[in-house]
């Protein structure tokens, strides 16, 4: 236990305390001395950029949650059906979907920067053209750029949501479905009245894990849009990085980091309640 406590103290508690301390200063990366002040909070919280960033982050997170849950569930249901009917192909599909998840985030950004490119090698527009649709400016207009980072994030995260939901589906007893069938329930009815309620805890855990993963994402965004055009895809994590390492405002970045800390704390409380209500803790 001692090594764990040492790691936790050195690399988590102390840094978290320091971040909190810096947020009450005017520290800058360019000079060593600083003074304590509340001014940083005042200026960060009154900066309209913060609210733009929060809005972008909220859209990014919410859209990712919905799409990853739905897509993950659709693939998981198909895989579960294939399992029960002993149809081949599950492992292959799972391998391909999970490949998107295991690769480095930066490479995901590079893959999508190529696929969504305006140049003639952009796969998305080639497919659109083949379907008789016009060119879409995926990365060069603010609203499309936001949609693009959502697509890339969903491409990355769906695998994880699918794995959890597939595990959840496997744990639903077959008897429930058999009983429903005897009672004359349609497939859709048993999906709605058995599958969804049985999966509820896993869906909720998924929501929390997707939120955390998406909030902490910025590796994928750098090669894809770099946060632009303008600041259209500058999410909270990327903003924090930019404030510290591009604007050199250690204190300003610390305030944003404190906001990120508070969000993760709230999500942890939610996660813990969920696990407890499931008897897992």
């Amino acid at each position: 236990m001692a090594p764990l406590l040492a790691v936790v103290t050195l690399f988590y508690l102390y840094p978290a305390f320091e971040v909190l301390r810096y947020s009450f200063t005017n520290a800058s990366l360019q000079r060593p001395d600083y003074a304590y002040t509340l001014h940083t909070y005042a200026s960060v919280l009154s900066d309209p950029v913060l609210y733009k960033v929060i809005r972008t982050t909220a859209i990014f997170v919410l859209a990712s949650i919905v799409l990853q849950l739905v897509l993950g569930l659709v693939v998981a249901v198909a895989a579960n059906r294939a399992r029960r009917r002993r149809l081949p192909g599950i492992v292959f599909v799972r391998s391909v979907v999970l490949s998107a998840w295991v690769m480095p985030g930066v490479v995901i950004g590079i893959v999508w920067a190529i696929v969504l490119n305006d140049a003639s090698y952009g796969l998305a527009n080639l497919l659109f053209a083949a379907a008789g649709l016009g060119n879409v400016p995926w990365l060069s207009t603010p609203s499309m750029a936001l949609i693009s980072i959502i697509i890339a994030n969903v491409w990355r995260g769906t695998a994880f949501s699918m794995i959890l939901q597939y595990a959840g589906l496997q744990s639903i007893p077959d008897e429930l479905y058999e009983a429903a069938e005897v009672d004359g329930a349609s497939t859709l009815q048993s999906f709605w009245y058995i599958t969804i309620p049985q999966l509820r805890p896993i869906l909720l855990i998924n929501v929390i894990l997707i939120t955390i993963a998406t909030l902490n994402t910025f590796d994928m965004i750098l090669p894809l849009t770099g946060g632009g055009p303008g600041q259209a895809t500058e999410v909270l994590a990327l903003r924090t990085y930019n404030v510290i390492f591009r604007e050199y405002s250690l204190a300003g970045g610390a305030v944003l980091a404190v906001i990120m800390l508070l969000i993760s704390l709230a999500l942890t409380v939610g996660y813990q309640r969920l696990l407890r209500s499931e008897g897992a803790l």
């Binding site: 236990m1 764990l4 790691v7 936790v8 690399f11 988590y12 840094p15 978290a16 320091e18 810096y22 693939v75 249901v77 198909a78 294939a82 009917r85 149809l87 192909g89 599909v93 799972r94 391909v96 979907v97 999970l98 490949s99 295991v102 690769m103 480095p104 985030g105 930066v106 490479v107 590079i110 999508w112 190529i114 490119n117 140049a119 003639s120 090698y121 080639l126 497919l127 994880f160 794995i163 959890l164 595990a167 896993i202 894990l209 955390i212 902490n216 910025f218 994590a237 990085y241 510290i244 610390a254 980091a257 990120m260 800390l261 993760s264 942890t268 813990q272 696990l275 897992a280 803790l281």
Partner: protein, 281 residues
């Protein structure tokens, strides 16, 4: 009423429709990047969906490996990933064992604390660490970077390993202790061999995560000869993107290949670790 048999056939068709769509969405971008990586510069700009170019070439790969330091980046990533996950196992395994076996005061609270750490963005932790490492002259060092990798992987590793320890009946180590083993002896001789598949799962998963780790090396390392692939490829894209997409694509393939290959070979372990970590707790 439609016969059961035809209903089943429709269900099977739908299952494979979902599989096919999933393969296109998740596999398509990967195939496309692979296709670009074996094209000559002329073939990149042809407006066509054909995957295998008329004159496939491996020249892009030789260019990436010989002129762009990719071999160094890949070696650095391997070093950091192995050091990070071995270190994380060494720190986590005893702690996870204690969480699973000993009921001490604050056990649950500590466990939830570990869960909370997992939710914290590495970005938050790295901000103050950057300043300290700068002061202690520990920037641009693989040793200090690997320490932070360990710290970042420890919460997840502890949490997942605890799940695996919970799956081994405590009677076994009690019996060993009755036979004269110390608690540590019981851990080493009885539990550790049984937990080996669990350790493998967690090792593989943490190594893959460490391979893709971005924020920590991005902030702590700047010397080109020390960079891991995740940073190397971002710089590479910045320098090359406009002129030679085929070379960037080859770099992307090289950066994702180790993670995907490891995953495909060992996916049984990874899928187990994922589900065990998130649901069972």
């Amino acid at each position: 009423m439609r016969s059961r048999k035809s209903q089943r056939r429709i269900g099977d068709a739908l299952t494979y429709l979902v599989f096919a769509l999933a393969l296109v969405f998740f596999g398509g971008p990967l195939l496309w990047v692979l296709s670009l990586s074996i094209r000559t510069p002329q073939d990149v700009y042809i407006t066509s969906l054909r995957l295998i170019p008329e004159t496939p070439t491996l020249e892009n790969y030789t260019e990436v490996l010989y002129t762009a330091q990719f071999t160094i980046y890949l070696t650095n990533s391997l070093k950091l990933a192995v050091a990070g996950s071995v270190g994380a196992m060494v720190v986590s395994a005893p702690a996870a064992y204690a969480f699973s076996r000993l009921s001490f005061r604050g056990n649950n609270a500590l466990l939830i604390g570990v869960l909370a750490l997992q939710m914290i963005s590495p970005l938050v932790v790295i901000i103050p660490l950057y300043r300290y490492f700068a002061r202690l002259n520990l920037l641009d060092s693989h040793l200090s970077t690997a320490m932070v990798y360990i710290a970042i992987l420890v919460p997840l590793a502890t949490w997942m390993l605890k799940g695996f320890f919970d799956g081994i009946p405590p009677d076994l180590d009690d019996a060993a202790m009755v036979d004269g083993c110390t608690r540590f002896g019981a851990f080493r001789r009885v539990t550790l061999p049984l937990i080996l598949p669990g350790l493998t799962s967690v090792f593989v998963l943490t190594a893959i995560l460490a391979w893709g780790e971005f924020i920590v090396p991005y902030i702590l390392l700047s010397e080109p000869s020390l960079l891991p692939i995740s940073i190397g490829i971002l710089n590479f894209q910045g320098n090359y993107a406009e002129t030679s997409t085929q070379v960037v694509a080859a770099g992307g393939v090289l950066a994702m290949l180790p993670a995907i290959a490891t995953f495909v070979v060992l996916q049984r372990f990874i899928v187990r670790a994922l589900t065990s970590g998130a649901i069972k707790g």
